[in-house]
C-alpha cells in the first residue's frame, strides 16, 4: 500500500535533478545567454585587463608606475 503521508527525503542528487529540471525547458536560453554575457563581462576583466597588465606596467616609466598600479586596482 502507498504510504499516503510520506514525503521522500531529498538527497544532493535529487536536489541537482530538481534544479536541472527547472533550469531546462522553454526559457532555458535566457539562462544560457545570461551566463554567456556574465562570462564575457568577467572574462573582459581577466583576459583583457589583467593579462597585459604586467607588460603595460613595465612599459610605463618609474614615475608613472604607481599611477598605473592604482588604475589597475
Amino acid at each position: 500500500m502507498i504510504d499516503t503521508t510520506y514525503i521522500p527525503k531529498a538527497t544532493r542528487g535529487d536536489i541537482k535533478r530538481f534544479a536541472f529540471h527547472y533550469w531546462s525547458g522553454d526559457g532555458m536560453w535566457r539562462g544560457v545567454v545570461a551566463f554567456a554575457l556574465l562570462g564575457i563581462s568577467v572574462g573582459v576583466d581577466i583576459f583583457i585587463l589583467y593579462f597585459p597588465a604586467g607588460w603595460w606596467i613595465e612599459s610605463v616609466n618609474l614615475t608613472h608606475r604607481p599611477m598605473a598600479v592604482c588604475m589597475l586596482s
Binding site: 499516503t4 514525503i7 589583467y50 604586467g54 588604475m71 589597475l72
Partner: protein
C-alpha cells in the same frame, strides 16, 4: 591610448554585466513561478490522508521557503560561484603563463581551499541547517495551528499556555538556528586563516623570486594584484559554499514534494464518467469492497457489498467509527480500495477520471469550509460559469438569500478565512446553495442540517427535499429524526451493513440496533 582602451573595456564590461542580469532575472523569475505553481499542483493532489496528517501551515511554509531558497541557490551559483570560478581559473592561468613558478604554486592553493570549503559546508554546515529548517517548518505549523484555533484559545483564556507552547517550539528553533549560524562563523574563521596562510606563502614566494632577480617589477606587481583578487574571490567562494548548502537544506522539502508521486492516480486509459441522460441520479454499487486506512490498526471494510439504485434516498446510520464517513469518501475516490470494486452506473470508479467523478457528486458537509472570497464566488464554486441570477436563485432555494441580502455588500461580502464571519447555520445554507447550483446526479449530505436552529432546519429540510429530487442521495445521519423519509436506511456496525430497510421496517424489530439507537435519542429528547 591605454586609457581609452581601459575605458572601452570598462564600458564593455558594464554593458555585458547589465544585459546578463536582465536575462538572468527574467529566467530566474520564470523558474520560481514554475516551482511555486508545480508545488501547489502537487500539494492539491496529495491524498486526503496526507492533508489530514500534515499541518496546513507547515505545507505553506515548506512551499514558500523552498521557492525563496531556490532563488538563493541559483543566485549564489550565478552571481557568486560562476564569476568567482572564472576569475579564479583565469587568474591562475594568467599567473602560470606570466610567472610560472608563482602560477603553479597558486593552482594547488586554490584547489585545496575550494575543496576544504566544500567539505566543511557539506559535512558540517549542511546537517545543522537541515535541522534548523525542519524546526522552522514546525514553527510555521504551530503558529498556523494556534491562529486557526484562536477563538478556542480566547474562550478558554489559553493565551499563556499557547505562549508557553509556542515558546518551546520557537526556543528549539533558536537553539538549532544559533548552532547552524555559529557553525558558519567558525567555518568562516577557519577558512579565513587557511586563506591568509596560503596567500602569505604566495606573497613570500614572489618577493623571494624578485629578491633573487627571477621576477621583474611587473611580475611582482601583477602577482600581488592577482593575489588580492584571488584572495577576495576565495573568501567569497567559501561563503557562497555555505550559502549554497544552507539553501539546499531549505529546498529539500519542496524537492520531496516534487519527487512524491500522487496517491490517487487516474488510470492511463481513464475515461470521463458519463451518467445516463434522462435518468434520475446514478446507481452506486459496492462489490465486495475491502479497505483499511494506512494508519488504521484494523480494516474498515472486509467485504462490503451494497447496491444503491439511481434516484434512491439512502441514509447511513451507526455509531462513530462504524464506517459511514468512509463509505462516502470511497464513493468520491478520496482513497483507493484494496479489494473489490465500486461502480457508478456500472463503471468502475477506478477507471474514470477523478475530475469527472467528483464533478458528478455534490457534498454538503457537516461543517462547511468556505473560501475567503465573496459569497457569490463561494455559492458558484461548483459551477463557476454561472450567472449572478442563478446564484441568487440557489441562495433563495437554500434560504440563504435572507441573510445575504441583509448584508451591506450582499453577494459581494467576503466571508473571512474558512467562512469565519458567518455563523454555522449561515455557512451551512451557503453550502446547500452551492450544492443546488452544482446540480450533480449524486448528493452527499453529512448531517447537513446539524448546525441549524429549529426554524431554519424546517425550511432547509424542505429545500433539501427539493434538492434530493431526481438525485441519488446519501445522508450520513446522526439524528434519526431527520431521515425518516429515506427510501432505505443502512445500519453500519464495525464496517458491515448489519441492518437495512425503511424507518418503519427497522423500528418494527424490537431487537434491532436501529431501534436501540432510536430509543436512546428519543429518551434524550424527553429528558
Amino acid at each position: 591610448m591605454a586609457f581609452s582602451a581601459l575605458m572601452a573595456i570598462q564600458v564593455t564590461h558594464s554593458w555585458c554585466w547589465a544585459a546578463a542580469f536582465w536575462y538572468w532575472n527574467k529566467f530566474a523569475v520564470r523558474v520560481l513561478y514554475r516551482i511555486l505553481t508545480d508545488a501547489m499542483y502537487k500539494a492539491q493532489r496529495f491524498s486526503t490522508d496526507w492533508h489530514v496528517n500534515s499541518f496546513a501551515g507547515a505545507t505553506v511554509r515548506k512551499i514558500t521557503r523552498g521557492m525563496w531558497s531556490f532563488d538563493m541557490f541559483e543566485d549564489t551559483i550565478f552571481m557568486g560561484f560562476f564569476p568567482s570560478a572564472i576569475i579564479g581559473i583565469g587568474m591562475v592561468v594568467m599567473l602560470i603563463i606570466q610567472v610560472p613558478i608563482v602560477g603553479w604554486f597558486a593552482l594547488p592553493v586554490v584547489v585545496t581551499f575550494v575543496a576544504v570549503s566544500i567539505f566543511l559546508a557539506v559535512k558540517i554546515a549542511r546537517p545543522k541547517f537541515q535541522k534548523s529548517a525542519e524546526q522552522d517548518t514546525l514553527v510555521g505549523a504551530t503558529l498556523a495551528d494556534i491562529m486557526t484555533a484562536i477563538s478556542t484559545v480566547k474562550s478558554f483564556a489559553g493565551e499563556r499556555r499557547e505562549d508557553a507552547h509556542f515558546g518551546g517550539v520557537a526556543g528549539e528553533w533558536r537553539k538549532r538556528a544559533e548552532d547552524a549560524w555559529l557553525t558558519m562563523v567558525v567555518i568562516d574563521f577557519l577558512r579565513t586563516h587557511i586563506r591568509i596562510a596560503l596567500m602569505t606563502g604566495m606573497l613570500l614566494l614572489v618577493i623571494w623570486l624578485w629578491y633573487k632577480g627571477e621576477a621583474t617589477p611587473g611580475d611582482v606587481t601583477l602577482s600581488i594584484t592577482a593575489f588580492f583578487i584571488i584572495g577576495g574571490y576565495l573568501r567569497d567562494i567559501g561563503r557562497q559554499t555555505t550559502e549554497l548548502m544552507k539553501a539546499a537544506s531549505e529546498i529539500s522539502d519542496v524537492v520531496g514534494f516534487w519527487m512524491r508521486e500522487d496517491d490517487i492516480l487516474d488510470a492511463p486509459d481513464a475515461v470521463p464518467l458519463k451518467i445516463a441522460m434522462g435518468q434520475k441520479g446514478a446507481a452506486i454499487t459496492f462489490d465486495q469492497v475491502g479497505f483499511r486506512y494506512k494508519q488504521g490498526d484494523r480494516p474498515i471494510y472486509q467485504s462490503l457489498s451494497v447496491d444503491i439504485k439511481a434516484g434512491e434516498k439512502v441514509a447511513l446510520v451507526g455509531a462513530s467509527g462504524s464506517g459511514k464517513s468512509t463509505f462516502v469518501k470511497l464513493i468520491q475516490r478520496l482513497y483507493d480500495i484494496q479489494s473489490g470494486e465500486i461502480r457508478i452506473d456500472g463503471l468502475n470508479i477506478a477507471t474514470v477520471t477523478q475530475e469527472s467523478l467528483r464533478q458528478a457528486i455534490a457534498l454538503v458537509p457537516q461543517d462547511p469550509v468556505l473560501f475567503h472570497r465573496s459569497l457569490a464566488e463561494n455559492i458558484a464554486y461548483g459551477k463557476p460559469d454561472t450567472t449572478i441570477d442563478q446564484v441568487r436563485g440557489a441562495a433563495r432555494e437554500a434560504y440563504a438569500a435572507e441573510f445575504i441580502e441583509g448584508l451591506s455588500l450582499g453577494y459581494q461580502t467576503l466571508v473571512g478565512e474558512r467562512g469565519v464571519k458567518l455563523s454555522g447555520g449561515e455557512r451551512q445554507r451557503v453550502a446547500i446553495a452551492r450544492a443546488l447550483l452544482a446540480d450533480c446526479p449524486i448528493l452527499i449530505l453529512d448531517e447537513a442540517t446539524s448546525s441549524l436552529d429549529s426554524v431554519s432546519e424546517y425550511y432547509i429540510q424542505k429545500a433539501l427535499e427539493r434538492l434530493m429530487e431526481g438525485r441519488t442521495t446519501i445522508t450520513i445521519a446522526h439524528r434519526l429524526a431527520t431521515i425518516q423519509k429515506a427510501d432505505r436506511i443502512l445500519v453500519f456496525d464495525r464496517g458491515a451493513i448489519v441492518e437495512q430497510g425503511t424507518h418503519t421496517e427497522l423500528l418494527a424489530n424490537p431487537d434491532s440496533i436501529y431501534r436501540r439507537l432510536y430509543d436512546i435519542q428519543a429518551l434524550d429528547l424527553v429528558h
